[in-house]
């Protein structure tokens, strides 16, 4: 099935938004989507979601004759599968251009950088060595497949344990997991791919979505490990354009994010592996965890691809507003038993301050039509502030409200 063509208005709008340094999903220009890693029941099996892009990776191993050119090393094969399940315009069972590109980028990032100790995978030199195979299946396409696939591949390799072998003269015994504990792979360093996209006006974004990928003019993928070392690099013009390459300007950002990402992957792998070592069946990953949600509205924000940057952070925002107000308010003691809550002058609406009126009225409205799930947090903070005010009498709060409004009106 052919890909739906990009309409003019989508293209114009994305370009306009990037001009104004906004993105449709409310992210900053150089902000990545949240990464989630869940492990399956086998060693070396994981599902990774990068926003709505999802990939499954599985590492498997068998014993083969090593290559003649490298007789004392094991082998590593990486295979990325793009099938119509991820997006209808991918063709099944054919080496398409995007799949070759992703494959090669991962090979350069993981294989050529020699991050895995292949020599330890040799059993008998020139005769027998472990052959590792990483299969990555993209199951949902929402842009930036390379990053998602590289995270999945790395997490799966770090999680993978191979069976122990013992060789005696001519014989090789492969021990089952019950006989001897399986062994993890030796990994020297942890490279991940970080992708960027450059737009016509020269602005660069990190972790592009599918729509953004269709609009952008040049793409950059860097394979970076946590020691700020570059393992692979790919910069390509997607359309005929003349934007300068952005490698020098964003490499720092890439390195910082890579370090963050690697520590996230390490942490989630460590937790799962430890749980398995201790045989805590409850704690270690099962794929069902990745769809189980703890809240009824958990899917709510996920399913909205276009949102304002403050959407979803609303609960925190409410707190912030309340705190702001607290700072601006001053308690003036008039009598012994009463206190007046006033807004500090100079910060008022119309003088460059926040439009507190708008905030007040709308938050009042919200309280009336109390939205159970979202607003619980908010009402709590409200009470909290009210507690502060309640220095003396209980009828105080209404008066305060009046005072502030009068104040604004004058």
């Amino acid at each position: 099935m052919r890909e739906v063509i990009l309409s003019h208005c989508e293209k114009n709008f994305v370009n306009k938004a990037i001009d104004k340094e906004t993105r449709l999903d409310g992210r900053q220009l150089l902000e990545a989507r949240p990464v989630n890693i869940h492990f399956g029941s086998n060693w070396g099996c994981c599902i990774v979601s990068l926003g709505r892009t999802k990939a499954i990776a599985q590492v498997s191993c068998d014993i083969q004759k090593p290559k003649a050119s490298r007789p004392n090393e094991g082998m590593l094969h990486i295979n990325v599968e793009l099938n119509p399940m991820a997006a209808p315009f991918f063709e099944a069972g054919r080496q398409s251009d995007p799949s070759v590109q992703i494959n090669r980028q991962l090979e350069r990032c993981l294989k050529d950088s020699k991050c895995i100790d292949l020599e330890s995978l040799c059993i008998v030199a020139d005769k027998k060595a472990w052959n590792l195979r990483v299969d990555i299946n993209i199951i949902n396409h929402d842009g930036n497949l390379v990053d998602c696939a590289s995270i999945a591949a790395l997490a799966a390799l770090m999680h993978f344990h191979r069976p122990d072998v013992s060789s005696s003269e001519e014989e090789i015994i492969i021990h089952s997991f019950a006989e001897k504990d399986p062994l993890p792979l030796t990994i020297y360093h942890h490279p991940v791919c970080i992708s960027f996209l450059v737009f016509e006006n020269g602005n660069t974004i990190m972790d592009p979505t599918y729509l953004e990928e269709k609009v952008g003019v040049a793409q950059l993928t860097m394979g970076i490990n946590s020691y700020r070392e570059l393992c692979s690099l790919d910069f390509n013009y997607l359309t005929r354009t003349s934007v300068a390459d952005v490698i020098p300007t964003i490499s720092n950002q890439a390195a910082n994010y890579a370090a963050e990402l690697v520590s996230l992957i390490k942490e989630s792998v460590r937790q799962d592996v430890e749980a398995r070592y201790k045989k805590e069946v409850k704690n270690f990953g099962r794929f069902e965890n990745c769809i189980a949600t703890d809240k009824l509205t958990a899917m709510f924000t996920d399913k909205i691809p276009i949102k304002l940057s403050s959407w979803g952070k609303m609960d925190d925002r409410e707190d912030e507003i309340m705190e702001d107000q607290k700072e601006n308010e001053q308690i003036i003691k008039i009598n012994k038993n009463s206190a007046e809550l006033l807004l500090l002058k100079g910060d008022l609406f119309g003088n460059g301050g926040v439009n507190t009126w708008q905030n007040d009225s709308s938050s009042d409205d919200e309280e009336e039509s109390s939205d159970e799930v979202v607003m619980v947090e908010e009402t709590k903070t409200k009470c909290h502030v009210l507690d502060d005010i309640e220095l003396s009498e209980d009828s105080e709060e209404e008066e305060t409200q009046n005072m502030t409004k009068d104040d604004i009106q004058t």
């Binding site: 063509i5 208005c9 114009n12 709008f13 104004k20 509205t297 709510f300 276009i306 304002l308």
Partner: protein, 236 residues
């Protein structure tokens, strides 16, 4: 299992209400319902609804469009073939749109439509055996609200249940949003929505509100709009 109007029906459920009706009455079965001998069986998962008189249908969640005659859709022009434009309307097949189907179009005066433009059009022909055909004029030759949409706006997709929800005259969303922001809007029954507001931020805000409306009860639309308005204010 047997279900009645207002219940959630699963494929294979038997609809109790209808099968007990008198055979003299005329019953209209809408999408998702099927007659199997004496009984009426659901073939989609969703809420069973009853329309005017004895019209029944299942209100289900769906994302792939099946063209229906007379519906307004938002499509993307993908190709110019001779005298017709090919328009992608997210259905199984591309629809045809003749260049004569625009207001004031004649052999001399061709409408200015480019590949990649977004059009708001009405389905004139929609049958399962033929290519769907679109028009951008009504029977009097006037364009009304149909035609090419400006490329300053934004296009996004949503589910059909959301389209039906927001197009329902009882839904207060558009009126409430309109109090805060000015915007142009075209909602196609094929799940494509085109919006144009004054700024990028406002456009995103309106899109956000529309998408969030899918998970918001009608009574809570007010708070949703307030929330959006407040967020817009903060971002300024």
């Amino acid at each position: 299992m047997e279900v009645t109007v207002g219940d959630v029906a699963m494929p294979g459920d038997i609809i109790k209400d209808i099968s007990t009706h008198n055979t003299k009455d005329k019953i209209i079965l809408g999408p998702g319902l099927r007659r199997d001998g004496e009984v009426i069986v659901a073939s989609k998962a969703g809420v069973l609804r009853k329309g005017q008189s004895a019209t029944y249908y299942i209100d289900s969640y769906q994302k792939r469009y099946i063209p229906n005659r007379g519906e307004n859709v938002v499509g993307i022009v993908t190709q110019k073939v001779g005298d017709i434009f090919k328009v992608d309307i997210a259905a199984s097949e591309q629809a045809g749109l003749s260049y004569m189907a625009f207001e004031g179009a004649s052999k001399r005066n061709r409408p200015d439509v480019q590949v990649g433009d977004v059009v708001f059009a009405k389905l004139l022909v929609a049958s399962k055996d033929m290519e769907p055909e679109l028009v951008c004029v009504d029977s009097l030759g006037k364009k009304g609200k149909l035609g090419v949409l400006s490329s300053d706006g934004m296009l996004f997709t949503c589910s059909f249940s959301l389209v039906r929800k927001i197009l329902n005259p009882e839904c207060p969303l558009f009126k409430m949003l309109g109090k805060e922001q000015a915007y142009d809007l075209a909602v196609g029954m094929n799940g494509r929505v085109w919006i144009k507001a004054r700024s990028v931020h406002e456009t995103i805000a309106v899109a956000n509100a529309i998408l969030a409306a899918e998970y918001t009860a009608l009574s809570e639309m007010n708070s949703l709009c307030n929330r959006i308005a407040k967020m817009l204010l903060q971002q300024r």
